[in-house]
Symmetry: C2
Subunit: 323 residues, 2 copies
Amino acid sequence: MAQPPEVTGTVVVLAGGVGGAKLAHGFAQLGLGHRLAIIVNTADDFELYGLTISPDLDTVMYTLAGIANPATGWGILGDTANTLAMLGRYGRPTWFWLGDRDLATHILRTERLHQGARLTEVISELAGALGVAARILPMCDEPVRTIVHTPVGDLPFQEYFVRRRQQDPVLGVRFDGIEHARPTPEVERALEEAEIVVLAPSNPIVSIGPLLALPGFRERLRHATVPIVAVSPIVGGRALKGPADRMLASLGHEVSPLGVARLYQDFLDGLVIDVQDTALADALRNMGIEPYVTDAVMHDESDRARLARETLDFARRLHGVTR
Amino acid sequence: MAQPPEVTGTVVVLAGGVGGAKLAHGFAQLGLGHRLAIIVNTADDFELYGLTISPDLDTVMYTLAGIANPATGWGILGDTANTLAMLGRYGRPTWFWLGDRDLATHILRTERLHQGARLTEVISELAGALGVAARILPMCDEPVRTIVHTPVGDLPFQEYFVRRRQQDPVLGVRFDGIEHARPTPEVERALEEAEIVVLAPSNPIVSIGPLLALPGFRERLRHATVPIVAVSPIVGGRALKGPADRMLASLGHEVSPLGVARLYQDFLDGLVIDVQDTALADALRNMGIEPYVTDAVMHDESDRARLARETLDFARRLHGVTR
């Protein structure tokens, strides 16, 4: 493990699922322990068979616990799906793959929520039991649900994402319940303690988007006095994973780090881009956003730590420079 | 399969778990279809990880669906326990073995109960999906919970039965909630339609006991005009399975078919006993209970059908003879 960087405050990572989990894992490998706080999208949470499922929270938790399935990025390594097979035998839909080990997480989360626990408490208990030192923080404790507007109608996020395999053009998104949701006290505290804020290379629309739509959250970033940097989820005109590229295009955004930068322009200080996108550096500077060019694709676990380290060093150099 | 017997009404089997499931399966093999109604103990139901578990209902359902684990009598053949392993990793107790396929049943039951469905509806849906033609009827829809009084204190049934492996002398039992429970409309209807009523070779205290303690149930049997027969769960001074022998002894009952007959004496017309207990036939007759002596131990599936057939024929001969 690398020498812990001299972090004086908290490194706050804003994350969705797989891409966010990988970068968060990189920061965890730097030995930040509890001084790493990952604020995670919960707008793609949903209910299935009466169980509350939080895909992004679980992906971050499994990745930091070292039990994630590296082939998919989500789910637990070596998991089986015998419960799912039996649910199918009972005539229930089985399009959302649920592993047997993974189900333990959903069962305990549902139990604790029914008992009145907050989602924040539940994930803290579960992650603690798996030995995760970092703070994994749901963006809010209230239920928020992404609805994707498509030519076939409004689709709950997992219907769009998993069941229909992101085949539908996205004409708009909304986050049901967002107006009644608030950043949790734990999220507020992490932001107060922050030395830097990092937007992970997650989908800007449906992963980072819900966090920014949370009442008060975006204003908080605009008025932050610490560096805010993002790692571009778009490299060479394509998304690293998932439908972010098609989604940006169908919503009228440029499918490039510039398109991403414009979505974050009102609060962003720096953007980490891939060497493939070196030519965009000047355009970013012209927007008032400092570029940092590196190999921004995380192929393996050492890439995660390297990219986290470089992002941290980059953000520190911005401290006091911008805004 | 044997020729369906000329049953004019319904064969009603009162059952607990494994022993009751085996005899019920024997009746099912006679081709009774929907004219077989099994009224099942629900007093050893319990909650674990927020899931409602009905061990006896599930044992009967899995047995009739042909997917029960023959080695244990309970659970599903070839099931794995990966969810349970993960629950253990989260620090939860794992003394109650829960298979992954089995969990699908508990998840769907819990979902449906939360939606407001009655337990009777839920097991009907599940058993129907598994192709079970017989009616599997919970004794009641209200929660009833067996508490076992022992020298170490009052124990919830599964604590006594599974966690402490029936090691504690049983000084008494009570059925919490029984005063607020009632036989369901489906149970009432089955009893109205009954051509015969058969008490399966289940534990008289904790499996059949809760049914008899249900308000109005025992009176109903006392005033029945159709034959009521039991198959003795005690053979040669020992229980066929489980702690029934020790439980009868510690509660001051004789550990023999006579001891069982005395518990049912106010409504029983006939008792099926094993050849090992032939010497007790006269004593039974003196009690006003007709004995039927046969090989009363079910070693394999053909034994189940044979014993069911013999019990049915025996009960029919009693029709109009007794009471």
